[in-house]
Symmetry: none
Subunit: 412 residues, 2 copies
Amino acid sequence: MLAEIINIGDELLIGQVVNTNAAWLGEELTATGIAVLRSNMIRDDREQIIQALTEARKRADIIILTGGLGPTKDDITKQTLCDHFESTLVFHPETYGNIVRLLGARGRKVMERNRKQAEIPEACTPIPNEHGTAPGMWFENNGKIIVSLPGVPYELKPMITGYVIPRLSERFDLHRIYQKTVLTQGMGESSIADAISEWESALPGNISLAYLPQPGIVRLRITAVGDDRENLKTQVERQILKLHSFIPNIIFGYNHDTLEEVVGSLLNKNGATVSTAESCTGGYIAHLLTSIPGSSDYFAGSVVAYANRIKASELGVSQHTLRSEGAVSEATVREMARGIKKRFNTAYAIAVSGIAGPTGSTPDKPVGTTWIAIAGPGQIRTRKFLFGEHRMRNIRKAALTSLQMLRWELAG
Amino acid sequence: MLAEIINIGDELLIGQVVNTNAAWLGEELTATGIAVLRSNMIRDDREQIIQALTEARKRADIIILTGGLGPTKDDITKQTLCDHFESTLVFHPETYGNIVRLLGARGRKVMERNRKQAEIPEACTPIPNEHGTAPGMWFENNGKIIVSLPGVPYELKPMITGYVIPRLSERFDLHRIYQKTVLTQGMGESSIADAISEWESALPGNISLAYLPQPGIVRLRITAVGDDRENLKTQVERQILKLHSFIPNIIFGYNHDTLEEVVGSLLNKNGATVSTAESCTGGYIAHLLTSIPGSSDYFAGSVVAYANRIKASELGVSQHTLRSEGAVSEATVREMARGIKKRFNTAYAIAVSGIAGPTGSTPDKPVGTTWIAIAGPGQIRTRKFLFGEHRMRNIRKAALTSLQMLRWELAG
């Protein structure tokens, strides 16, 4: 079962937008057992769309087009496909109802251009869009399946996972693939590779490992191929159990888990609360924690003490400590943690103080120097890190490291 | 002058790696006046390479292939192109010297596979690679230029900017393109389209407009084509001046500007400081402000008052207000703004309180209901919004809206 992807959008070709859809679609389809033969980025142009579609139909069984479905005049995919399949546009009341509901929830008027978005080629089945006004389209023609979806990632993704992939899975007898990604925080790719080399060498022939590093997190993607999905799943789970003994502390979750989710669940389980006192991370840890729905159950709040005077006035860090040891020190971060824990009356607290960069370094404290403190019911643990030279990556690494340290504290 | 890009690599198609090369190449070529017609991602497969190249040659004058030039057996591009152009591989001493030098600097031995990388198809001119062992290849055939380069971005980029583009610029009388993107915050794509339809219709034939929406921001990309870049620039600037009169308040910047940067500059210019009191945005506004290097000049800090008791104890929001009007109300957000401004002693303050969702709504306050307050030297301005149903997008929209409101306050 071969698929080809056609991403429509001038913005992709002139480099205004990086094509993340192709990578995401490639990953999702591959995990389902559908091989992606080719991905193409083309112009918002009728001739280009028809040409790309015609070529793709010779090569692939499933063609997924993204883009060009918006309400403005650049968006020509629907009319082009309608003509290509020799169909006519027909008003679809259910789709219109969805458009009205969506715009209403945003307090927006329904414009004529939005009403036109409810007109669908008769030859297709509309694919509902929960997050935008443009429905997707599912065409079947001469044994091929052609799917057209919006290019906006948060509209596209649920339509793929919730509608397209389930139907493709039902329809085709796909080669079985079972994939599970192990998530780690706290060691770099090379160090992990060394630590698990014995495990990796011992993997059976039908199981492969890919290292997918990001700032602060290394994902280990394990893929098994074979005929029986249940059997593959058992095999992979057995390998993961073995993997744990090689890298016991750094694994925090699987697949699409996030540290903030995992920590949130642990806090809920323990009936505990947390607050954060942030300097260089500038509120990013609070942002991660509050990105989880229901976090108000365990997250009380934060003080972002960016200026040193705020560290003193709001968190009780002593002027003596700030003067003698500096803002980026074990003493300061310990006092920040103690201060926020007490003030916000939470069971746990995270405090971070460091030099995100690019400026701010001193001879003994280069850019990337970061102190993290975790205050628990009993004690305050502190640790120093040297993250790197890049500001945003330092912020990200510091935040993820602090959440992992909190996870260790909570897990015991 | 049309170009087509062919990125070779299985890892792109299975979604292991996001294709950033296509976006970067698209931007660089477009700025030079070379229009990218199409970008394709294909497998590391001889047949696929030949097919893609053959198709591209019918459409474009310049074809750029990336990938498949490494020292391992997956890397088949060179042999495939050599055969396609009916050439033979010939050892190139200068290239070999570069390989020896490079590996020596990294303390590596020169392997047989590296020596083979110095064998170049006789039909091409080798393109030197300063950062890797694989040379690029420049072929000319039947009036077309075909360039093959490594897929590793830091190897590819200097070869494009230092070798390929200068030679293409010399060779061709390129149409000039001038592009500028206008950034707006505060109106949706459809509303903007209506507000500027008269301006859009009146655009001269050589100037086009594309709408690039994101949550909270709509980018308007204006492209002019013609013979004289300076002239095009003048034309575009004149159109943008006219555009301002149609949508006077929502334009905050151009091209790669961000609201947090623009606001930071205004604060610096005014010698002013800001603090934030955040509830539903959970520290995200502080995170945006602190993502800018040097923000410690104007950002003092924040209180993330996620729990209502923290709104009371840290920001002085009265229990009476919380009980009678609720946390998501004009009164609460006004008191939050007053509280943080006073406590952190800043010239300006942002306060946000809302229902990010998906839970938390009441009959009169649906998910997305958000109050924003901006406190300035003179007064506190408040405004209510209804953003939408999606938690992360509500957080993003609320943060961007508050920064825009602060910008209005600062700009007068």
